[in-house]
Symmetry: none
C-alpha cells in the first residue's frame, strides 16, 4: 500500500488567494488552477477580464506539472526542436503544456499537487504561479 499526501481544498484556496493578490499587484488578470497529487482539478478561478483561452491553459499547466513532475517552463526547454522531449506539446490527450506558468507543489520531497497560471506573458504567469506555490 502507498500513503499519498495531497493538497486539500483549503490548501488550494489559500494558494489561489495568494495568486490573485500577486496577479493584482502586477496587473495581470489570470486564470489560476490547482490540481492534487493525482493530477485532478481541486479549484480554479478566472479573474474578471482574464482571457477565456487561459481556462484550459491554467488547468492543463497545473496538470502537466504533476503529470510530468516538472515545471512547464523546464519541460519547455526540453521540448524545443532537437530537445529530448520535442513533440511532447499537446500530448496526453492534448493536455501537455510546455510554456511557463505550471509549477509542481512539494511537501518535503514529494509532489502533492500543482498550480497553473495563465493569462499574462510567460514571465507574469510564472511570477503568479511561484507566488501561489509559496503558500505551501
Amino acid at each position: 500500500m502507498l500513503q499519498l499526501t495531497t493538497v486539500s481544498l483549503d490548501d488550494a484556496q489559500r494558494l489561489i488567494r495568494l495568486g490573485i493578490a500577486k496577479a493584482e499587484e502586477i496587473g495581470s488578470p489570470s486564470n489560476i488552477a490547482v490540481v492534487d497529487a493525482g493530477g485532478n482539478l481541486v479549484a480554479h478561478v478566472r479573474m474578471d477580464g482574464a482571457q477565456i483561452g487561459s481556462i484550459d491553459h491554467s488547468i492543463n499547466k497545473a496538470f502537466t506539472s504533476v503529470a510530468c513532475q516538472s515545471s512547464t517552463q523546464a519541460l519547455g526547454d526540453d521540448a524545443q526542436p532537437g530537445g529530448q522531449f520535442y513533440g511532447i506539446a499537446n500530448s496526453i490527450n492534448g493536455r501537455a503544456i510546455i510554456f511557463a506558468g505550471g509549477v509542481p507543489l512539494y511537501h518535503g520531497e514529494h509532489i502533492v499537487g500543482g498550480v497553473g497560471v495563465s493569462g499574462g506573458s510567460g514571465e507574469q504567469d510564472q511570477t503568479v504561479a511561484e507566488a501561489a506555490a509559496a503558500a505551501l
Copy 2:
C-alpha cells in the same frame, strides 16, 4: 452591438460558498462550478473526498444550463426515449449533460451564467445547485 450582463468572479465565489455550506449540511461532498453568460468557466471547487469524475460533470452541467438555456434536469425530461431531444446527451462535443445538478442563473429575465454541481445523488446535486443559485 448587444449588451450582456454576466456573473463576475465575486458572484461565482459567493455562489460556491453557499453551495459548499449546503453540501456540508446534507453530507454530500461535491464539485461546484460556475460559468458565465458565454458558457466559459469562472470558478470551480472540488470538496475534499468528492469524486473526480464529477469535475467534468460539474463544469459541463453549468455549461449545459447556459448552452441550452435550461436546467439539466428539465433537459433530461425531454431527452428520454421518445422525447423531443432524445439523443442530446453528450452532444456539443460531449459536453451536454442531461441529469440533475445544472441550473441557469437569471438576472431579471436574462441568463447571466450557470451553476453545476456533481458528486452526490441527482437529488443532492440539485439541492446544492439550487442553494448556490439562490445567492444571485
Copy 3:
C-alpha cells in the same frame, strides 16, 4: 467521373434569410446552418439571443441530414430503443443528431445539401428548417 450538384453560398444565404423570417414569425431565436452535398458547412447564423449550445446542433443536424440521407427527425424514429439504428446518436465523431431540425435539400432526386436549425422546441426547429428548405 461523377457530376455533383450542390448548393452555392448564394443558395445558402437565401435559405437562411427565409429561415430567419420564419423564426422571427414564430418567435424562436435560432441557429441556422447549411451544408453542401459533401456535408461541409457553407453558411451559419446565430440569431441574437439564440442559445450557444445550438451552434453545434444546427451544424451537425445539417451534416447529419446529408451524411445519413435522411431528416434528423426520421432518423430519430429509427434510433429509439429497439429501432434499427438505436445507438447512432453521437456517432460519426459525435456529429450524428437524431432529433428534429435537420432536413436534406433536394434538387430533383438528388441531395444537394442540408439545412439544420436549432434553438427552439423540436417542432419549432422543424418548422424553421422546412421553411428554409422551401427556398430551393
Copy 4:
C-alpha cells in the same frame, strides 16, 4: 455582475459582407467567421470554391483572437521555437490557431468579438480579416 458589449448578428453580417468584397477583390475565395465576446460563433460563410479545411480554421482563428486576446499572427510570433508561447498551437482542445487571419474586434478598449479568415495565403487571409474588422 459584469457588463459586456458583444457583436450582434447584424454586426457579424456587415463584417462578412465587407470581407467577401475584399476577398473577391484580391481573388482569394475564403471562409469568414465571426465570434462574439464569449468566443461563440455568430456567423460563418464559405465562399464558392473556398477550401473545406478552412471551415474550422476560420472559426478557430476567430475563437483564438478572442480566447487569447491577440491576433493569431501576433500569437504566432510568440509561438515560434524559443518563444514564450511555443507549444500553444492546437491547445485549448485543438482550437488555438497561430497563423495569420484571426483578428480581435475592439469597441473602445474592449474586445467584443473576433473575425477569422482562412482559404488563401497568410497575407491574403490577414488582408481580408482586417478589411472585415474595419466594419466595426
